[in-house]
Symmetry: C2
Subunit: 716 residues, 2 copies
């Protein structure tokens, strides 16, 4: 890629960004799009000042939201959102610092050195800059054996040191935040509860009795209550169906036109005799509710050998959680309970051995998906070449012959197909993670987040750098000695691709999909005529499992390319600034926290950065080898070792804080509660906090026809 | 090696074994050798029936001891010795079963197939059997591409399945033994105590105050007492010196010849004026004791930021041990306390970060020692060739020219040097492990045991199979794809060497060094004139760190060679039978248990067997590749994967039991104690159990001259 091409690409994307920015500034002020751009205030049913009164200002793009997103301090953000959101924002702050420092080193020191080399082009004439290849700014342009490479060597050491210092600082900062947040928290059910799985139920007794007798005997002073988990998959389906039907019924009732309320009782409402829809659905709902009640009584016997066990103190729960309970280590398995709204109810169906096997299966499936993902993509892309299309759709021939159309199709269709395939990946990862038998959505998301990260690194980074050889790329792991050489050969060649990637996939897609929420906007426009006013509206929660890997991937790009092609860094700095403002805005207006992991995502960020550093070192070792500076190559070897040792130290120093709270904190909090008069009320709440929502009958007034029917809260 | 050579070697070693057996049978009955062959009864000062009365039977070799070693049941053995000894004996039972089964498969099925192949020799004539190479019985003789190799393939699967079944059975058997042993145990100090390290002592207060306030505040109901650890390295040196001097003095006092009591007071007792040794040493001891008292008072201020903290219940100790105590995960580090007599006092000097670094240093040193061990050995062996010796010692020329002498020197000297170097290895491993900062001898021994195992496998197995290329052998780990091929090529060629190794290093050295205790016998004969009657006599404890790796290495040989050269198996079966009887005898008569790990060595045995299986599979994969049966080679690949999965399952199912006792057991035992009237006496004992012996002043009557001097227990 030459400089002018890069500038064109940047120009186009800048224009697109500006367009989205302007559109967002206008649309966010339109009351009809509030549920797209401010769902948090809609869900909270806040009074929106004069939202329905038209004024001219509404049509002007303004940047006031940027100021409002910028202003709140971290503590204010924490009070409005969750610690997870604050930790997420720390990724941007951390990345900005890293790229800022690396950018200064890269642009001011490395870039001139690279440009002054003459490995690629012998003449250096500043006037024909636009037609220069971007490679003249990369390390490829430095002469083989040049002494200037020692500057790159020093830069690698200095930047690694700086990044490690920042990593340490952030880890310690977030650890202290996490503990402070725990100290300031109110008593929460999950702090007092553990999940017990693989309860060894003897044939004579029920699961509930077994759990009760085990814990009253062993923890007479701290045991409070328990609730056994039941297999409710079928019931959940029924209740959600009933909920939907109930909503339909309510909507029909508001319908004044009786003609419209008629429908046929046959297949899909198209055949059969005409009946009043109100009666028809009413009868159907009654049947469903009968079913639900029957299922609820029958389900009571279907224990899953698992229970939520609550204790009177946090330390009591911690004791049950940390110490192996039964003599058999695969029975009485305890785990911290998630927050009640975070429980993933369908998980409970598996015994220890089943869960272990499904974990193995998931690992295999994940590896296969990651490694083989590109094969179908390449195949489908191959099917969409021009000739193929012309054969399939002969009537398109004339259109396809136009240069513009063919350029668009050959240029964009493959990448569109890739994007399409890629968009299916996060849900697949969530599905895989949920198969692993986690007990909470947050754990599933955390596991999916790591999976997505590995997937992205493999399929976007390695697939592009080792393109062509990727299908056999797995082979290089069998000859680890060759890895540095192969990477050093392939990675710098893709620098210009990744700069373009940062601009398009970073800037533009951040603005379009994150800020402008294109998909959601279109859905809302389509859905509007059909949706009733009374629909319950819920603010979405941020999909950490797709958002975090994206940001971390740019971090990886920045760290690996900073000394190969420092030109990428300014673009990454802009990306981080944009991301910082946009995500702050989204956290304040769009995403509502559903559950709180207290920053448990940070270790993933830390590990990913360490991986990026080590990858950078490996490439550096290979690079110095290729450039025939073997001494620099050998002297770089301690760098990854030191980095991994640093990581090991951090694991010991900080990771335990993210796994569980220390006894000191638990005891302090417990002591505070002892003097709290509200604690007995909390205990009462605690004993019912972990009831399966599908099992709770709820009376709900159905209609004006006098009688009220029990309806189930879950689906409604 | 040809068959007749093997038979000769077996014959010689059998004769040697018989000799040792006979000598042992006679010498063990001589009262003067009781401290060599029955130190347990000597230490226990048992009345030995008519031990001093001479009778003729004492000079006849009898095998009664074999019957007496065979007879006791496992429970009887447990009551007389320790669980560790029982677990050690289980290794032999396990190996016997494995080799029995593998031997039947190998000798009855594989051996005929190997022999009937004609890859190596085209004619098969049973008459010239003695001059046949041993290789005709190994897999090397099977024709390339032969269908018979599928029998080997099946044998690999069947034996792996059988070994895994046995591993599971043994693991579960020993786990249950371990728990049963815990239930039947009396209250022991180590069950109620944890070691706390890295206590964050603030400048204003002492370590003792910090520990006291932390635990009384956090565990008011279960905390009992603590004893702070002090830096006593210097003190320990002084006390042991004082102890030695005291013993010397006591011996001198029994001396009746006053002339012998005179000595010179100058350098080494050779110069200066003559003084009465009794007065001389008495004065010296007085000085030393003054020193010790001074050191004791000064040491009181030197805390090491570590303490033994005792609790009122086992669960209390477990809570402190399992849950991270302080907010900072590298402060208030807790660990199970070892038994009081098992504490390795000099360990305490290191902080968390120091210990971490020393662990890293030890890993590096261990790796270097293991990988580079053979270099000095080869160099020294090179120095001892005949010409070199003749140059150094010209007067030996005539002797060295004799064929017999030169044969012995060229044949035995190199292996003698190897043995000499090898004998230094276990102490070095113990030293390395103790540098790692373990708090107990048993942990040091366990860690040294794993180290020795790795060392033996690398230097005896790999060095012999990859001989010559070993120095560059590390390189093959950079090309993992080639490993199976290299191993399959090199390992079968060494079959005859390892058969001879089993016979010499297994049979003969087991009988000579273990049963006959050659070194100890010689030492005792030399020392006898000098040792006094009153010497405290202590029975030795078994050096698990050198005994277990030896047995496990033979297990590895059996598993890797069973399908390559099944001829090795009968020799291993004999080894196991010998080992079973001899070690039972030694446990009953020689080794006294010093401390009890309750079978914590078993996971090492398990892991080693899994390693041997996987090594066997890798060799099989390479072998089938070399023999051009690629399908068998590919179909073997699932075998190591399944084995590793099995291992993973066992880790989950059994390993936790070996790490700590489950809450259920602790609570049951605590409840038993509650009703025990002796528990308050135990608590009293508990609070002083973990005092550093160097800090305890002990009054000891010194002499007949009226006054008694405080003397220190430690060294005495």
């Amino acid at each position: 890629m030459i400089v002018s091409a890069l500038l064109t690409s940047v120009g186009i994307n800048l224009a697109l960004c500006l367009l989205f920015f302007t559109l967002y500034s206008i649309l966010r002020k339109q009351p009809s799009y509030l549920n797209v751009y401010s769902p948090r205030s809609v869900a909270a049913k806040e009074e929106l000042e004069e939202s329905n009164k038209f004024n001219f200002e509404r049509l002007l793009p303004t940047a006031g939201w940027v100021r409002r997103a910028w202003q709140p301090s971290e503590d204010e953000l924490l009070s409005v959102t969750s610690l997870d959101a604050v930790v997420f924002m720390r990724i941007f702050i951390f990345s900005l610092r890293v790229f800022g420092f690396a950018g200064i080193v890269g642009i001011l020191v490395l870039l001139p050195i690279n440009y002054l080399g003459n490995q690629l082009n012998r003449d250096f004439d500043i006037s024909d800059l636009p037609s220069k290849s971007l490679d003249s700014f990369s390390i490829s342009n430095v002469n083989v054996g040049s002494k200037w490479l020692w500057v790159h060597f020093c830069a690698a050491y200095i930047v690694t040191g700086f990044v490690c210092y920042l990593l340490y600082y952030e880890y310690s900062y977030i650890s202290s935040k996490r503990i402070a947040h725990f100290y300031s928290s109110k008593p929460q059910p999950n702090q007092f509860t553990v999940v017990v799985r693989s309860v060894p139920v003897s044939s004579g007794s029920s699961c509930s009795e077994t759990v009760e007798s085990f814990f009253t005997e062993n923890y007479p002073s701290t045991y409070l209550s328990h609730s056994v988990v039941r297999r409710t998959n079928k019931l959940q389906g029924l209740t959600s169906k009933a909920g939907k039907l109930y909503r339909k019924l309510m909507r029909l009732r508001t319908e004044t036109n009786t003609q419209q309320r008629l429908r046929r009782d046959g297949c899909w409402g198209l055949f059969g005799r005409k009946v009043d829809a109100l009666d028809y659905y009413g009868k159907k709902l009654d049947d469903l509710e009968d079913n639900v009640r029957m299922e609820q009584t029958s389900v009571a016997g279907k224990d899953v050998a698992a229970a939520f066990v609550s204790f009177k103190s946090r330390l009591g729960a911690a004791v049950a959680f940390h110490i192996q309970q039964g003599e058999n280590p695969i029975e009485w398995l305890t785990e911290r309970a998630p927050e009640p709204q975070d429980v993933h109810w369908p998980f409970f169906s598996a015994s220890f051995i089943k869960r272990w096997i499904s974990k193995l299966v998931v690992v295999v499936a994940y590896t296969a998906l990651t490694v083989l993902f590109l094969i179908p993509v390449v195949v489908v892309q191959g099917l969409t070449n021009l000739n193929q299309l012309e054969t399939w759709f002969p009537f398109l021939t004339s259109v396809l012959d136009l240069t513009v159309v063919s350029a668009v199709i050959t240029g964009y269709l493959p990448s569109l197909i890739l994007q399409l395939f890629m968009s299916f990946v996060p849900p697949v990862m969530i599905m895989l993670s949920s198969l692993e038998g986690y007990i909470s959505f947050s754990q599933i998301q955390k596991s999916a987040c790591s999976k997505m990260l590995g997937f992205t690194i493999w399929n976007v980074f390695l697939a592009n750098t080792l393109s062509g050889t990727l299908l056999y790329g797995f082979e290089i792991f069998l000859e680890p000695k060759k890895i540095p050489g192969i990477l050093a050969d392939a990675v710098p060649a893709q620098a210009s691709f990744f700069i373009a990637y940062v601009v398009t996939s970073g800037w533009t897609s951040l603005l379009s999909s994150e800020l402008f929420r294109v998909t959601r906007l279109i859905l809302s426009i389509i859905k509007r005529p059909f949706s009733g006013k009374d629909d319950e509206f819920e603010a979405p929660s941020i999909p950490y499992h797709s958002a975090i890997p994206k940001v971390l991937f740019f971090g990886l790009l920045g760290l690996t390319y900073f000394f190969l092609a420092p030109l990428i860094l300014p673009f990454l700095v802009v990306y981080c600034c944009l991301g910082y403002i946009i995500f702050r805005n989204q956290f304040l207006n769009v995403y509502a926290p559903k559950y709180e992991t207290d920053g448990k995502f940070w270790p993933t960020v830390h590990n990913s950065t360490i991986f990026a550093l080590v990858l950078m070192h490996i490439i550096a070792i290979g690079m110095f080898g290729l450039k025939k500076v073997p001494l620099a190559s050998s002297l770089t070897i301690p760098l990854p070792i030191l980095t991994l040792l640093f990581n090991e130290y951090c694991r010991k120093r900080f990771l335990p804080i993210f796994k569980a709270y220390p006894a000191e904190c638990l005891i302090k909090k417990d002591r505070e509660d002892e003097n709290d008069p509200r604690i007995s009320a909390f205990y009462e709440k605690l004993s019912t906090a972990y009831r399966d929502p599908a099992l709770m009958p709820m009376h709900h007034p159905r209609s004006t026809d006098g009688h009220s029917t029990p309806l189930l809260q879950a689906g409604v």
